[in-house]
Symmetry: C2
Subunit: 362 residues, 2 copies
């Protein structure tokens, strides 16, 4: 009779990741995430990529986002349910994910990704803005003041030199919450009463709204020469934020073109509308901003590679800080062909908590 033990998978709970961010500091986490995402974008062609797999329902969407390189496979589970706040007191976006070994299929990390996604999305926005926004950008409009907005504001403050944020949300309580959270961060906060007011004079415009509708948050009349638009909330079929003429007036940059054509604000334009993939700008094979007056749009939808980067960053940081738990997600078998040993009746009927010597096995 074989004895069976259970191998364990490292697990980072929502509490563990909050502790990581508190101990290391959000600033340092954003910086580390920017570096990890940038490094992975620079080896773009090493990844086996596909558009995410979405399951749409009346009230929202549930998506799986897989990706792999030669060593590691990663996937994220993420939902988007815009009515969750109002109807259920729940976040609109919740996520978790896994890193696994390509060589064996063994899961090597299970982690919360709700908090992590907010950090990786803001970090990705910075990776793009560093090559697309004017280097002297100092003010940012922030349209949509929900769960992700603090992370966007602080990422641009710490890593792009943004000194002033101009806030607008259709929910004034969300704006008040954001303004309150940004007190004592060094950011100058201006509360605005309309999108147009918030956008006026801003160097960068970040849209991070949640409605699953073809909304028109930004219209052409609001756009000024030289603006960089960081469009984060248009990320699902039927969920857009930018008037199509805003895209037409701009140079448009995307993460992974096949996915953004389906999910991004780009879904409003014909399939031959030219866009540039961000990795090409980062490695110098395509140009980003070419003039002070150029209008640039990062039509961000969130790509699986960024979650791969985020999982790696959180795994490494958890190891450094000695945080995390272990789960028996996968059985560990003395003889891997003997899965049945886990449930053999002799083990249950005659062996309760401890193993019997071989002679007593039936």
């Amino acid at each position: 009779m074989t004895t069976t033990s259970l191998v364990s998978t490292p697990f980072l709970s929502a509490h563990d990741v909050a502790t990581i961010v508190q101990r290391k500091g959000l600033d340092a986490c954003l910086r580390g995430m920017v570096d990890t995402i940038q490094a992975d974008f620079l080896r773009w062609e090493a990844f086996d990529k596909c558009a995410r797999v979405a399951s749409h329902s009346t009230d929202g969407v549930i998506e799986l986002m897989p990706i792999a390189d030669d060593l590691s496979y990663a996937f994220k589970y993420v939902n988007g349910h815009p009515k969750n706040n109002a109807l259920h007191g729940l976040p609109t976006v919740m996520a978790f994910g896994v890193l696994a070994s390509v060589a064996t299929g063994v899961p090597e990390l299970l982690s919360e990704l709700t908090l992590t996604t907010a950090i990786r999305t803001a970090a990705t926005s910075v990776v793009a803005a560093r090559v697309l926004a004017r280097p002297n950008s100092r003010s940012m409009a922030l349209i949509g003041n929900g769960a992700q907005s603090e992370f966007q504001a602080l990422a641009f403050h710490h890593l792009m030199g943004i000194e002033e944020v101009r806030l607008f949300d259709t929910d004034p309580l969300a704006t008040a919450k954001l303004a309150d959270n940004l007190r004592s961060t060094g950011l100058k906060v201006v509360i605005c009463t309309s999108t147009a007011q918030a956008v006026r004079g801003a160097d960068i415009v970040t849209t991070v709204t949640a409605d699953k509708t073809n909304a028109t948050i930004l219209t052409p009349d609001m756009i000024e020469p030289g603006m960089h638009i960081n469009g984060v909330g248009g990320d699902c079929p039927g969920k857009t934020e930018l008037h199509p003429d805003v895209l037409r007036a701009a140079s448009v940059f995307v993460e992974y073109e096949p996915q953004t054509r389906i999910e991004g604000d780009l879904q409003q334009l014909p399939a031959d509308f030219a866009v540039t993939e961000l990795w090409q700008v980062l490695n110098g094979s395509a140009v980003g901003r070419t003039s002070e007056a150029q209008i640039t749009v990062f039509d961000s939808v969130g790509f699986a590679m960024e979650d791969y980067s985020a999982l790696r960053f959180m795994r490494d940081t958890a190891r450094e800080l000695g945080l995390g738990q272990r789960l028996a997600l996968i059985p560990d078998l003395a003889d891997p062909k003997d899965l049945y040993s886990l449930v053999r009746p002799t083990a249950s009927r005659f062996v309760a908590p401890v193993s019997l010597p071989d002679t007593q096995a039936a």
Copy 2:
């Protein structure tokens, strides 16, 4: 300052599921799984279905298998690495999965699915054999004596009246392990020295081999009138078990045609080779076996709906037995728009393990 707590996701570890099977009995678990899978096949059109998403590498494959009905979304992570036993002492197949609410996206169960998959696969084989094999079947050849073989043998013994199993594997140690595990189960076990010897005279032939090659385990000369072939191991592009002429000589039944055309033994035949989906036989809209002499093949690859059924069954059984744990996979926020509250520096710098009263918050 909002206080944050962490909502918890029910979790069934490999140990929990082994305990469920030991307490309830494998027989009862197989029976319950057959009933659940059959019930879900009978409401086939209620499911939003897609072929699984596979990431292939040199040594194996990692797959995600999502599915949803109006109420629940489920997905399974599963690998297939045929060399894992020999190279790493690991199982060739490992799995876990999640049930989630379609209405909110909240994950409602995370469970191991390695052991569960073996049970659900055997249960699915029985669901098919009950309408495809001759009702008086008493002997079964079992080709491939690895991790899943005990579950196939015992499912057919308990639920189909199989009295004799005829075993063959290229690894004699695997056969010895299976024979040992089947002692005292009431099954007559015959150890054979070739596939041909095992198959001769058998009413049902189950193939459950692991090699990721276009193997030809069963050739036309081995097939006798009236046989039912339960083909379980040909489940991946480039991984087949049946000579194409075995399929041509038979009536072929599948789970979900678009997936089986890519992954099943069916991948060897042209796209217009006629097959019947199992759910149609179960609901009476198509015929199964039509004569004593007919040869039937269930070209099983494993479909996401069966994992949906398996997760439901394990969730309900765990509740009944009071088993399982809870994980903080998703943050629970007093204000769902205030994700930042989890990492607000005031919370970390001035509040260490316990919450401060509001007056002390910055």
